[in-house]
């Protein structure tokens, strides 16, 4: 009888880089760059650093919410080959949801723990500005049969529903927004992210985007206050009624989110090299303790962040008090406030260098990009444990915990 080894392999992060965030506009910083080049630039940096050898790679996992058009076909394999990853490296993609960036880590880590593979590249990539909005809407919205049965409401209505349920006020959300964006501004201006961020250049070596683009306008208090509720109109059209059919006890929805307290989209990508303990040529940067992927009630979607976080804490046997640094999504100000309130977090440990409200939501790229930021925050504070969490669509959510290792 062959001996069964029940001992699971530990999983480590050896290398992590991200691109800057580019805003989701036709004149956005990354708009004129083909999505594949977000990856080629990251791979180039991996090669230059050579801390995580790409020659013996087992798998390339790519998370991308909208794998259409320039991100279509067998995107993972095409992009991998185009970027010069070895032909014998398996490649596959996860798509359809912003949690897919963290899904890549989940599946890679499971396979590494089982000893099935030794080394994997996990990537989140999203060129939101180059994908048509019509490609982003699925049948849950445009198919009346599905929309009715699933009581579909747009994410903004879910966010206002959450805020209403939690009793969050407009000024509370605006206040959170202002603080978060000013923290982001400080962090960007002080080059806090630069160590794990690659400047994007064109094929001639000329600069395209060196720093995160962010919405400085949100720091204008007058502008902030002048914003009208973003979802009141569509709420009135019927989505409020649909949401309230599931939450009748609320009676009405307060439309407290504005263009300011929602994130909007961004372009960006991040790449992580993970593997067993001796997978790199250098000691690992961090240990990947665990990743949770959960599904919960869809209408109040973002509220499932709490379950995802609890799931990963349970999986890793850690108490929430053991987490030094928190990075959670800011698709809407309510999402972040929910986590902050629920776990009674000190603002000094939660999203202290800003978040999506400043630079936008890079969807599937967001998870891996947040891990890069978390690594930098751990480094600069000499802390150990960080938690990254984000909500997806229709009640999905994901979280992961990493531990910084001394070099």
């Amino acid at each position: 009888m062959a001996q069964h080894s029940t001992k699971k392999q530990a999983v480590f992060i050896f290398e992590a880089y991200r691109t800057p965030h580019g805003s989701n506009r036709v004149n956005g910083g990354l708009h004129a760059l083909k999505p594949v080049h977000l990856l080629t630039r990251l791979i180039h940096r991996f090669r230059a650093e050579d801390r995580f050898p790409l020659a013996n790679l087992d798998a390339f996992y790519l998370g991308c919410t909208y794998p259409f058009d320039e991100q279509g076909g067998n995107m993972a394999r095409t992009y991998a080959l185009f970027s010069g990853l070895p032909e014998n490296c398996f490649a596959t993609q996860f798509s359809g949801d912003p949690t897919t960036g963290l899904q890549t880590l989940f599946y890679a880590a499971e396979a590494i723990q089982q000893g099935t593979i030794q080394r994997a590249l996990c990537c989140g990539l999203e060129s939101n500005s180059r994908i048509k909005d019509t490609d982003k809407i699925g049948p849950i919205a445009f198919d009346p049969e599905m929309a009715l049965r699933l009581a579909y409401v747009p994410p903004g209505i879910s966010a206002d529903l959450l805020a209403t349920k939690m009793g969050m006020t407009r000024s509370e959300l605006d206040g959170y927004t202002f603080n978060s964006v000013s923290q982001a501004k400080t962090a960007i201006e002080n080059g806090r992210f630069d160590h794990r961020m690659i400047p994007i250049r064109d094929q001639n070596g000329l600069s395209i985007l060196e720093k995160d683009e962010y919405q400085e306008q949100k720091l204008d208090l007058d502008w902030l206050q002048d914003q009208t509720p973003a979802y009141k109109a569509i709420g009135n059209e019927g989505f409020d009624a649909r949401a309230l059919s599931k939450y009748p006890e609320l009676g009405r929805i307060f439309h407290v989110h504005t263009q300011a307290s929602r994130a909007g989209f961004a372009d960006g990508a991040a790449l992580l090299g993970i593997g067993v303990q001796d997978a790199g040529t250098h000691p690992p940067l961090a240990k990947l303790h665990g990743v949770s992927l959960i599904g919960g009630e869809p209408i109040l979607g973002p509220s499932n962040l709490i379950q995802a976080i609890e799931a990963v804490l349970q999986k890793t046997n850690l108490a929430s008090s053991a987490i030094d640094i928190w990075e959670t999504d800011e698709k809407f100000a309510a999402n972040a406030l929910l986590v902050r309130k629920h776990f009674e977090l000190d603002p000094e440990q939660h999203n202290t260098w800003g978040g999506d409200l400043a630079w936008g939501d890079s969807a599937a790229a967001a998870g891996p990009m947040m891990i890069c930021n978390a690594l930098e925050r751990l480094n600069s504070t000499k802390k150990k444990i960080a938690l990254v969490a984000l909500s997806g669509l229709s009640g999905l959510a994901a979280a992961c915990i990493i531990e910084r290792l001394e070099p």
Binding site: V26, N27, A32, K34, D69, D202, Q203, N204, L206
Partner: protein, 708 residues
């Protein structure tokens, strides 16, 4: 440089008129010169004192393109990018001036000149079929950079733009009007200006279609399944044509496809970046060098002896009405010369004339000439069997079979009827001119003129100067070649001259590879991938394997002990003596030539030339095929066979299709890098023999830090 004139109706006419130049071009200075003009126009508009703008040119042409010298010399990507970004800004502000802007196109507008036209609201062009319009950048390894590509795309749609720009197709005014790239045609300058003014009268603040909300790229959108399929095919077709060696058409295709899915201004950014990449790249420099600078050196007649008046022959005699003779007769007649075409019998000579008739008939069918033109051209060719008809010829070209005795004989026969200053030329690819000149009573009037087959298509003529050839004869030969529309290079009289000598190295290297046990298909494929138009085995079949052996045998006789047998030589013997497969004319050579089907490599090859189990790496095969030619070309230059770098480069490209993207044989060394070239050649010499020995010239050049 830009003349500014405002009339009473507040219409400003900007007249491009560059000082000290035959043509207007756009360079960074012109770009800059436009900026204050635009600022001034804007001020006038704000004061309400501007109704419209007309741009025209004081030269015969409108604007002939970018400043190639600047582009050729520029290396700094930041400079190139900022130059082209400035150009984009200038054109963009022109079309957003908020008053009507008209291009009054009085002459040829190419490249940046055409980009300027596209950035106006209305284009009026004189309807002269000699005017050329369009974006020929691709032929010099470039692409439009000032927004010409994006504007063409937004005017024509994806597939028509791919067709125009990847081929660099030029249009006459009528064709351009049919494509909607020109809005109005005019009879003459006056009519053009009237029409330009008339159009302005009816306008207030016209916008370009792409600056209006509703406009999109015409035709099927980028993500339409038909577009996707067509693009996939276009990209494969491009590879077949270029083997991936030409970045310009590829970048043009990439830019069109990417920009088609994006907004107008993002498209501009991508155009500017890809333009910068091309300019900074090696291939564009190689192509600019060969097809612009080297060509211009030939046009400027730098290899022609100075001090002799231009030779204008009136009547040309041609001996031999075979393939070459009738081809030469044809091009002479087309160039307006009277021709006496002689062969041993009038019947044969008539057949030669018939060849010209056939070619002209084809031109009638494609609408290039009329029946009357054909009649006129054919009338110029007089056929004969008597050399006495040469007596009033200014030039006689002998084009009989490649045989010393025969050539000597026909020369002597003609010589007696020629007057003392008739130029006598021999069309030969191998026989020493100095020897042939001995058959002539006036060897100083005797010269070699190596035409290539088919004469009507091949651009090159290799002029061979014999030992006794006078400088004046050379000047006259040069003038004649230019008069019949060919490109002359001048070489000295050494065995094989330049083109035959170097090309044979390529063929023999291919045969040596076969002899060594490399797969025939690999040899042929690697040649194509290296940019050669035909593989060495197919080429052997074309020129005839027997002729190749004759040339080598002659070399052996001429050189005696100094002769080193090429390792490819035994293949020739085997093909002729053992296998009786001597080439295409026998429908059996390295290839098999079935009726009505494409040729394919003969199945027997691998039996008679057994393939090694372990094949050479592809890189080494490529190097051997290319270095064998380049090293021989360097030797030719070193020995003074070919005297000018531009003659060596252009001669290689036009003579035997040597990888144009490398810019020619000597430019190949520049492109490769001199030290790297020496290193590879040294390695090849050690592994494959002294034929790869680095010429001393290269070592000297390395020491002195010079290049070709």
């Amino acid at each position: 440089m830009i003349r500014y004139k405002k009339d009473t109706s507040n219409v400003v006419v900007l007249t491009l008129d560059m000082a000290n130049r035959k043509n207007n071009i756009i360079n960074h200075e012109v770009g800059r010169a436009f900026i204050p003009v635009l600022a001034h126009l804007n001020r006038e508009r704000k004061k309400g004192e501007l109704t419209g703008v007309i741009i025209t040119s004081a030269k015969q042409s409108f604007l002939s393109g970018g400043d190639l010298k600047y582009l050729y010399e520029s290396k700094d990507v930041e400079d190139i990018h900022s130059y082209v970004t400035k150009l984009i800004e200038v054109f963009r502000s022109l079309e957003r001036l908020q008053v009507p802007v008209v291009a009054a196109i009085n002459g040829t507008a190419l490249g940046s000149g055409f980009e300027l036209c596209l950035a106006t609201h209305h284009r009026v062009c004189i309807n002269d079929p000699n005017i050329m319009l369009g974006s020929p950048e691709v032929s010099l390894g470039l692409m439009p950079g000032g927004g010409g590509l994006i504007r063409t795309l937004w005017k024509l749609g994806i597939m028509p733009t791919i067709d125009l720009l990847t081929k660099g197709r030029l249009l006459n005014p009528l064709e351009a009007r049919d494509l909607n790239l020109i809005d109005e045609l005019a009879y003459d300058r006056g009519d053009m200006m009237r029409k330009a003014r008339a159009w302005i009268e009816g306008q207030t603040a016209p916008k370009q279609p792409w600056d209006t909300d509703k406009h999109s790229i015409p035709g099927l959108p980028a993500d339409h399944p038909e577009t996707r399929a067509a693009v996939a095919k276009a990209s494969a077709r491009l590879f077949k044509e270029t083997r991936g060696n030409y970045p310009a058409p590829q970048k043009i295709l990439e830019t069109i496809v990417e920009a088609a899915g994006l907004d107008f201004d993002t498209g501009m950014q991508i155009e500017a970046r890809n333009f910068t990449e091309l300019i900074a790249g090696k291939t564009a420099k190689n192509l600019m060098k060969a097809f612009w600078f080297d060509f211009n050196a030939i046009k400027a007649a730098s290899s022609r002896p100075k001090g002799y008046g231009r030779f204008r022959p009136y009547k040309v005699g041609i001996i031999g009405a075979g393939m070459m003779g009738s081809g030469i007769a044809h091009i002479c007649a087309k160039a307006g010369l009277k021709v006496v075409l002689k062969d041993v019998s009038r019947v044969i000579a008539d057949k030669g004339k018939q060849y010209s008739a056939q070619l002209l008939q084809q031109e009638i069918e494609t609408g290039k000439i009329t029946d009357d033109d054909m009649e006129l051209i054919l009338q110029k060719i007089q056929t004969t069997e008597s050399a006495s008809d040469f007596e009033d010829c200014d030039l006689v070209i002998e084009a009989v079979f490649e045989n010393r005795m025969l050539k000597g004989q026909v020369t002597r026969e003609a010589d007696q009827f020629l007057h003392s200053d008739t130029l006598m030329a021999s069309n030969t690819s191998t026989i020493p001119i100095t020897d042939l000149a001995k058959s002539s009573m006036r060897p100083e009037n005797f010269i070699g003129m190596h035409f290539f087959s088919p004469v009507e298509k091949m651009q090159l003529v290799e002029i061979i100067k014999g030992e006794s050839t006078s400088r004046e004869s050379l000047a006259r030969a040069f003038d004649f070649v230019k008069q019949v529309g060919k490109t002359p290079i001048v070489v000295n009289d050494r065995r094989g001259f330049y083109t035959t000598r170097v090309l044979n190295r390529f063929i023999l290297e291919g045969l040596a590879l076969l002899q060594e046990g490399q797969k025939a298909a690999t040899i042929e494929q690697m040649s194509l991938l290296s940019g050669m138009p035909v593989g060495p085995l197919a080429l052997s079949d074309e020129v005839s394997i027997r002729l190749l052996r004759d040339i080598e045998t002659q070399a052996e006789r001429d050189l005696g002990e100094a002769y080193i047998m090429h390792p490819g030589f035994p293949v020739l013997d085997k093909m002729i003596d053992e296998l009786d497969r001597t080439g295409k004319s026998k429908k059996a050579g390295f290839y098999t030539y079935p009726d009505k089907e494409e040729k394919y490599l003969w199945e027997g090859l691998s039996y008679h030339f057994p393939e090694n189990a372990e094949q050479l790496d592809l890189q080494t095969i490529t190097y051997r095929l290319m270095f064998s030619q380049v090293i021989e070309a360097v030797r030719c230059y070193e020995e003074g066979v070919v005297m000018a770098v531009h003659d060596a480069n252009v001669g290689a490209i036009l003579g035997w299709g040597f990888a144009p993207f490398k810019g020619g044989t000597l430019q190949y060394v520049n492109d490769f890098g001199l030290s790297a070239f020496i290193e590879v050649a040294t390695d090849l010499e050690a592994r494959f023999g002294p034929r790869f020995k680095v010429p001393a010239l290269l070592l000297e050049m390395e020491k002195s830090g010079t290049h070709f």
